[in-house]
Structures are given as structure tokens and as C-alpha cells.
Symmetry: C2
Subunit: 198 residues, 2 copies
DNA sequence: GTTACAGGTTTACACTGTTAGATAATACGC
DNA sequence: GCGTATTATCTAACAGTGTAAACCTGTAAC
């Protein structure tokens, strides 16, 4: 039954092409320029075909967002395996977030509804921010000093506010050339935050 | 010549109505639901009339953004007149920002292109973040400890990242009822930041 | 060979921001 | 008060948006 498999492969490929095309357009022209018709033109299909792969444009964005969070968690996992020290882990987590936001700003924009990217679903946030024990950042924070879960959750929230604030503010307000210069300032803030935990 | 004055008054009124209507719709249904036609319907004019008052929808949003920053600066001025102590000033500045973001989230969204609000102009940021000596926050930071202007500018930038991060993350991820609970966490972070300066 | 179906397209609807042209309402000179 | 000039406003239209329904078309099954 190689035919069905070939079709399955093709379907996956088209799906991936749609996602990639959306990101490409967003990167070049911003998310406000991403339309179903434009994507369809690039992948050389008629517009309605996209609805065979995604229920709506919103769901398409949701997929990109979810993929973004997944990718971030993969980086987190790698770091967790590389370093035992929770302080070191946190600093590396911060750096991974910086990389993600600066290297794939268009994904970061969808993840947090920035700069015209708009995905109505808030499911990803509930998953990400309520993870507690299973979240690498949460675990690292809890490992540094034994505290009540609620206290850790508060610090966890502060972590997100700090890192997100820096990344989003930098992407929003700075020109692309200036962004690179801000990394040391960001990393210094992350380190100070981590020091403050001990 | 009371006729011209009356016309002038009416024009100002309509202009204000347009801005208010846009904010109202955004508040109720989100910025993605704000359209020229919807605004026109509410103010009981035909859609093209809005272009007598604003060059484009983008310019309309820019006005709301600029008004937002102006309003914030008015609050800053009041605080500056009320308190001499720069640390106290900063804490109050933080609280003013919190009030602004939670009481007028739709304005805050436009100010920072959050949640579907998209204003392409970045003029307001350049004005706000490059103000240095004239900015109340910058002045307060500089007053706490005498330092080089560059160092103050870095701290100024960190201030914006911290406060913006908290406010935006809270508005994005939390439900409307949960937002109020986060205020103490935010203010605690602001105070810690201020303490760290001394 | 006919039927069933998946893959894809065309067409259409109800929106969007925005512009051009027509029209209604007002103000001014006589 | 009447005609004219100007201003205010509207209607119609264009190009674009997300999306749904209807239609075609080549392949598979019986």
C-alpha cells in the first residue's frame, strides 16, 4: 500500500509548506500581510485547499504558536540534560528564550500576539503558565531553595514577566540592528534575577 | 463670527466621538473587531467621513496611542509634584502604569501593539524611550544615585522592560478577574527594582 | 462500465480599508 | 430673496480579506 503512504507524505509536506510560507511572509512583511490567498499562491494551490489542513486561519496561527512553545521546551530539555546546577539552567533558559525571540521573531510574535499577529485561542498560555511541577523553569526555581509551591509559582510568574518584558519590548521598540546590542543587558537582568533567588 | 466657531466645536466633538467609539468597540470586542464602518455606524455618519478627521485607520490608532502616552505623562507630572523623594516617585510611577494598563487595557493594547491592535508607526516609541533628561522616570532614576547618562539610560530601559513585561503578560495571560490579584506581585517587583538602585 | 469518492477548483458571500464622483446643505454677494 | 460658490456628506465602487457551497475531475471498486 505505498500509494496511501505517498499521499500521507504529500499531505504532511503540504501542511508543512503552508506553515513555512505563513512564517516566511510574516518575516518579510509582518503578520498583517499574511493572508490565506497569499499563502495559497506561494504553495500553488487554490485558497480553499488550506481549509483541508487547518479549520481556520486562527487554528493555523495556533499551530505555529504551539510549535513555538514545543520548540522552546525542546531547548529547555537539552539544557536540563546538559547542566545540573539550577542557577546555570535558568541562565541558559533565558538565553534560549533570547535566541528564540531574536532568531524567529515572527514565531515569537504569534506566541504572544505581538505586532499584528492575532491568535484568539489562549489555550497555550494556560498550558504553559499552569504547568508548575512539569515545567523546566518551575523545577529549576523550586530546586534553588525549598519553598511552598505557591511561592515558586509566584517566582515562576515573575520569571515570565521579566524575560517576556525584555524580549517583547526589545522587539517592539528597537530596530533590527539594535536588537543584538541588548542581549548583554537582558542576560545581566536574568543573572541578577537568579542571584536574587538564592 | 460664531458660525465658524460652532463648526470648529462640532468638528472637535465628532473627532472625539470617533476616538471614543473606537475605544469602546475595542473594549467590548477587541481591536480586531474595530472597523471604520462600525465606528461610522455608531457616530451615525457614512464611513468616508472618518477620513475627514484621520488620514487612515493607522493614523487613528496612532492618535489613541499618543493620547495614551500623554495621559501617562500627565499622571507622571502629578506624581512629580506630589512627592520629592525619587524612590517614592518611581513606586508611584509604577502604580500609575498599572492603573493605566488595567483601567484602559484597550489603550494599552494600542500603545504596544498587543492583542490584535496594530499601529505601524513607531514614532511614539522613539519619543518615549529616547527622552532621557526630560522623562520623569529617567530623572527619578538619575536622582537616586549620580551616574553617567548611559548607565541611567540602561536602567531606564530596564524599567520599561520590567513594568511593560508585567503589565502585558498579565493582560495577555490572565482572565479579567485574575488581573486584580496580580497587582501586589507587580508592585513588589517595582519596589525591589527601586531598592536595587540604591 | 458504472458508481463512489477524494482532491481540487470556481464561484460566491459578507466583510475590510479606502477613493472618486455625485449630491445635498449651507454661506455669501448682490 | 435669489443665484452662486463653497462646504459637508453620501453613494458607489475597487481591491483585498476569511470562508462556505457547489461543482468538476481523475482514480478506485465492484
Amino acid at each position: 500500500m505505498g500509494i496511501l503512504e505517498r499521499r500521507e507524505r504529500l499531505k504532511k509536506q503540504v501542511r508543512a509548506d503552508i506553515l513555512k510560507t505563513a512564517r516566511d511572509i510574516a518575516r518579510d512583511e509582518g503578520w498583517q500581510a499574511v493572508s490565506i490567498r497569499k499563502i495559497a499562491e506561494v504553495i500553488e494551490y487554490s485558497p480553499p485547499i488550506l481549509y483541508e489542513y487547518f479549520d481556520s486561519k486562527d487554528k493555523l496561527l495556533e499551530t505555529i504558536r504551539d510549535d513555538g512553545f514545543s520548540q522552546l521546551h525542546e531547548e529547555f530539555s537539552k539544557i536540563k540534560n546538559l547542566y545540573r546546577n539550577p542557577e546555570k539552567q535558568l541562565v541558559e533558559f533565558g538565553q534560549a528564550q533570547w535566541r528564540m525571540a531574536t532568531e524567529q521573531p515572527e514565531v515569537f510574535q504569534v506566541m504572544f500576539n505581538l505586532d499584528g499577529a492575532l491568535c484568539l485561542s489562549k489555550q497555550a498560555y494556560q498550558l504553559e503558565f499552569n504547568m508548575r511541577n512539569n515545567h523546566p523553569v518551575w523545577e529549576a526555581l523550586a530546586a534553588i531553595r525549598p519553598r511552598a509551591a505557591d511561592t515558586v509559582s509566584k517566582t515562576f510568574y515573575e520569571w515570565w514577566c521579566l524575560t517576556y518584558g525584555f524580549l517583547a519590548m526589545t522587539l517592539i521598540s528597537q530596530t533590527r540592528v539594535n536588537v543584538a546590542q541588548m542581549e548583554p543587558v537582558f542576560m545581566e537582568s536574568v543573572r541578577r534575577f537568579v542571584r536574587g533567588l538564592m
